[in-house]
Symmetry: C2
Subunit: 385 residues, 2 copies
Amino acid sequence: MGRLTGGDPSLLRRINSAVVLHALRGSDSPTLTDLTRITGLSRPTVEGVLEGLVTSGLVMETGPDEGEARRQGRPARRFRFRAEAGHLLGVEIGPHRIAALLSGLDGRIIGAGSREVSETACADDRLERARTLVADVLRRTGVARSSLRAVGVGTPGIVEADGTVRLGTALPGWTGLALGERLRRSFRCPVLVENDANAAAVAEHWKGAGTDSDDIVFVLAGLSPGAGSLIGGRLHRGYGGAAGEIGALHLLGREATPETLLSTTGEPLPPLDEPAVAKVFAEAREGDERALAAVDRFIQRLVHDVAALVLALDPELVVVGGWAAGLDGVLAPLRDELSRYCLRPPRVALSLLGEAAVATGALRLALDHVEEQLFAVEGTVTARR
Amino acid sequence: MGRLTGGDPSLLRRINSAVVLHALRGSDSPTLTDLTRITGLSRPTVEGVLEGLVTSGLVMETGPDEGEARRQGRPARRFRFRAEAGHLLGVEIGPHRIAALLSGLDGRIIGAGSREVSETACADDRLERARTLVADVLRRTGVARSSLRAVGVGTPGIVEADGTVRLGTALPGWTGLALGERLRRSFRCPVLVENDANAAAVAEHWKGAGTDSDDIVFVLAGLSPGAGSLIGGRLHRGYGGAAGEIGALHLLGREATPETLLSTTGEPLPPLDEPAVAKVFAEAREGDERALAAVDRFIQRLVHDVAALVLALDPELVVVGGWAAGLDGVLAPLRDELSRYCLRPPRVALSLLGEAAVATGALRLALDHVEEQLFAVEGTVTARR
């Protein structure tokens, strides 16, 4: 049971540091006076906290603004948060593509890159490709590897808390891979591994189609479908990290994989063959009847999977992403069917982040980790039960 | 943004009161010295807090224990929490039955009662029956209505935050009923209305099959099936209170209601006719082939519904309750099928509370409400984003 009454001075210092940092990030080069006003702290307290933050490199004193420089007398001291004091990486490791985003401590993206990768690449090759990509992004932006404070990684599969892939059938050699541990060898900072759909859900909430809702289901449509959900703004991973793994739903009386549903020949498409899928969607747009029927079958399945998630979770918003192509036609039937099946149908929107969703979410998770260290202070007092 | 640094004295008093109350509830007539040791507060602070709590009626001074009474000198003052300072009601309003549980502020049950009710009774009659039952329980236990601090109610349907039933097809006149408002006329305390499966989930977590898990799905099997879930020990209601309303899942490509599945004649059973269901289960136990096939169809459907919930939420534990009869045969096939469909199958258990689950959960929700007022103190300090 936490208590406030012990008067722990180091806790108070941490609280005050967090409060001042928060105020610094929310304002443009505030003065000492601004900071005392915003935080409600005394001037000596703010001064003491700032001294520590400057020493740590997180804050710097800036010059007086132009008006002040011209005026007589000693100008007020101004301070700013140093977003450049550390950096974060968000990495997607997918079946066909590896992507990386680099940001400062404010989350603003300052570098990006991506590489194609074969869906048959072994785990070692895939990891090597990810390392090369990251090295390239760091080199191009001139950011030292030692400046990285956290790395987030989004990838298909059920991921354990320690970053081990418990089950990942979409990528060769992925099941059982100690992905977090392997990547930690390349970085001296924490590496956080997350399921790709979970990462995408976080991303759409941060800067995509879900910024105005805290109760979101993100559906990653594709040949290896999955879903991620936020409940009250927090990622719901499930007890064993497997929440939203709707890939198995087709077993529930509907023995139909996307590869079978989207076939126009009677034979399933080759596994994970996205170009073959794009071809079917393109043919459907041109009015080909077999392709239209195939796309319709696929959408029906997607609708069923989404309906099951919506009935279980009752989100405010469903965001559909994954395949760049072919999703335009999904929204109308999805809305229709959800309003038939659901007692309170959620809003439905397409992903705004598209291909960038997984890496963006991975970056946000890295940022969350660092912000938790920088800003969050445990001060909860509960005395229930 | 909450802050600790403003030095709000009334907040500190509330925190200290909560801490002392918590310590009092957790120990057997502690002395002042015990309380300072348990809470870490100073003796004058504890004395001040106790004075306020005694005035409010929540705490009383007790006599010295036997050993002390015999010893020389002034015996230590002892205190105890007065569970009898207020009372709570948990009420189930169901299709066939109304039940009520009465407890003191410690949640210990001191009175109970139930009444049969026809599934065709109109809302006014059903409410009148509930009122009569409550009056009877209060009279029999000698508890004054004015002593009630909160009333929890569990009932089928989607329930809004204000206690209005948005949709409740199982009971005549239930959809649109301002149930909370109607019941508040009979009580001068808060009335909290909750979906029955949600209430049952809370109950199994409190004192049923789920006391050792915080991530639970409770499946209310029956002719009007539903589910409730706890995530991290908290009830997940969903954005619109409709989470777990799996009754619509049979529409997903399986146009099969329990009444149809459990029929042995080709004609569906009468709606909500529980005795007819019990007969089918009884015939199945006697080896009747048509009944066995009917029960098997029903179990298959239940398995599918549960699998969809499990894939969406990934709970640690699934508790199955609802029908008292006929559920024994459910566990084995449920475990088999879940291990086929789910990447990490949850544990599966039968409800331990049976018929009492909904009223027990309603009581716990009332208790939560009161404890929140008595014990919880907002002291969270966060300075994120």
